[in-house]
Symmetry: C2
Subunit: 399 residues, 2 copies
């Protein structure tokens, strides 16, 4: 058989860890602390089944036909209104509906990244963003947002965009304080560089009221409707249901227009059915009504995970208790722990974790793990952490 | 305000004609012959509403959670079985579920096309494919599949892949005969080059039984499960509903694996809700039960469009009556007609057509138009063609 054409070179540099997470979610007995999955018990199934049926029956043209590339007008209007406030005015032209939050990252890569372009990225960096931009072969300038000598303007000068998850970063679970948010926004205004505010966990505050969005902070220096440098990414995956694959971008109209051109090629439009269900879940109040129960459940699980970590991992790792989001980031006290190896040992011990290497554009950081607390019940979290302690001791003994 | 970073260069080369089509579908009074939209009356709305409700109520985990990257196992199995036959055996590993057929084209670009790579493409070429591959900046080798001196092996040597729509090509509506299909398949086996069989219109045969798929023709020289060079793309957009945004790729497992890696970055997974509805629409027979009515409706509309063309356009254009699909391709008798200009004049006359330039990678072909006959009722088709005749005379008078 003659040789097949070569695959694109970026495929050699990639990893299948996200596929491992998604698959591990279905292995019986395995406790999956590796993914970023919501709990399945939070869904109001009968209500969502009703919305799905009504969406098709009452809005056949919107749900079954192609929608406009940028999304259903009623959903774009709803998102614009939902994110408008005293400091910011948004219209439909500020909003693009995407097929999940992941698609927005891909469209930004297609739209802004030529081979070798510079991205200033909060470090460590969300795996899915790295996955998405890998085909465009960018160079990364890491931003350590809790460093004392952080100089956003220096990092952002000459970059195509800066990327941050200010609310409970994936992977570290850390909250970026208001002062740092303001400094990033100021640097974006001063340098002209776009600033991506990726915000899947923005509603998941467990202990205190939310800090202001960078989108809102930047509105002060922008015209209305909003034309500033922040590109805000939202999603229903954490608050409603990931299976709908609905996300949105809020940005200056020129950016929405460019992203729409990229989206036209990527998938023509997002499912009208899923868009209409999302619209109705917000418009009827269903999504907002779900939130208190979600927060209460995830708060208890955060507490349960941290209690189990205190009981089993205190000698092995350092970590901070997160005040929101889905993850705890734990760094091994002993530098010889290789968490890539630990991931495999963990699977043999019946627990799946995320190793730090996949959140590093260079793949070099092998000392930390990301632990998810939203997907499993409290007893499973405790068992999972106990298994992780065993697996860590095994991995250390092998190192 | 400091200058913003430049958008990626490919955005300068693109066009917004697809967005124009999708938007034109919603302008009152305008007769849209430009898009490739199905008729909205073919949808069994109550049945689909029932499937949507049942999918959520009975399969909450499948519909509301993330699915595996490659798709729901039950839908992958169903597609594998549906396309298996005497000559070909397919398994789940041969199938990737995509967010519409458009996404498959994008994933193929991400997976196979480095900047400057060669694509051998049936000419004229589907606009959406050109849109999708533009960010990767390929070079095109046009394949005129009805040329007497067609030499597929010569065209495919050194190309990353060949691309064809053998059933009622978009834009020309032409059927590629079995002999030419076989010669493309043989060339793919001989050269090792991948051969994309894009088949959105494969069920829309109005006058005769379907010709064999290139996928099936290539199975003879492949092992089972299928590991040959054909990459087959299907979709529910023409037979069920585009709003579901469900398509599939059937190919060798190594290709499905590479495309899955690209899809993980692109959108993580396709909506589980839309996948489950699609599964149930096939499994319950609903999709197959709809087909005779769709064929009958579209056959009548094809006849109505061609009758109106005979009445109004005989002096202005040459065309062939298509035996399936959604389009008639008409080429101006007078070479001075510029159909880019005609598109604008047409909009002023209340009719939207697709100009040939958008189906040419070089954008140079200005002499033809693509006319859709599936979206409008027969009287509207007649009015639309009468308006097109006027618009053509106006455009010619201005040239």
């Amino acid at each position: 058989m003659p040789k097949r054409p070569a695959f694109a070179k970026w495929l050699d540099d990639t990893n299948d860890v996200t596929a491992t997470f998604l698959a591990a979610g279905r292995v019986p007995g395995l406790i999956n602390l590796g993914g970023g999955l919501p709990d399945t018990s939070v869904w109001p199934v009968p209500e969502l089944a009703g919305l799905a049926s009504t969406a098709v029956a009452k809005h056949a043209a919107e749900t079954l036909a192609y929608t406009p590339v940028a999304g259903l007008p009623n959903l774009r209007d709803l998102i614009a209104k939902r994110f408008s406030g005293d400091s910011i005015t948004l219209t439909r032209d500020n909003v693009l509906i995407t097929s999940g939050g992941a698609q927005a990252l891909g469209l930004l890569g297609t739209t802004l990244v030529e081979e070798g372009a510079v991205i200033a990225a909060q470090a460590p960096t969300y795996l899915g963003a790295l996955d998405n931009w890998r085909p465009r072969r960018p160079r990364y300038r890491p931003m350590r947002l809790d460093a004392n000598d952080l100089d956003p303007a220096k990092l952002m000068t000459g970059a195509q965009f800066a990327y941050a998850v200010p609310n409970f970063s994936n992977p570290t679970g850390k909250l970026v304080d208001t002062e740092t948010r303001q400094s990033l926004v100021d640097a974006a205004h001063d340098t002209g560089t776009w600033l991506i505010e990726d915000d899947p966990y923005g509603a998941l505050y467990y202990d205190a009221p939310p800090l202001p969005r960078m989108l809102d902070l930047s509105a002060e220096k922008s015209r209305n409707p909003y034309d500033g440098p922040v590109i805000y990414l939202g999603t229903v995956s954490k608050e409603l249901a990931p299976g709908l694959r609905i996300g949105w971008v809020i940005a200056a109209p020129e950016m929405i227009k460019a992203l729409s051109t990229a989206k036209q090629g990527a998938d023509m439009c997002t499912s009208g059915l899923c868009q209409q269900i999302t619209h109705d879940a917000f418009a009827t109040g269903l999504a907002d009504d779900m939130l208190p129960d979600i927060l209460s459940l995830y708060r208890s699980r955060r507490d349960a995970l941290c209690a189990a970590m205190d009981a089993h991992l205190g000698e092995l790792y350092d970590w901070e208790r997160p005040t929101g989001g889905m993850f705890v980031w734990a760094t091994a006290k002993r530098p010889e722990l290789n968490t890539d190896h630990l991931m495999k040992v963990g699977l043999e011990h019946g627990v799946c974790i995320s190793p730090s290497s996949v959140f590093d554009p260079e793949g070099r950081d092998r000392r930390s793990v990301r632990l998810n607390f939203t997907f499993n019940a409290e007893d499973k979290l405790a068992t999972g952490i106990s298994r992780l302690a065993e697996a860590t001791r095994t991995a250390l003994a092998q190192s």
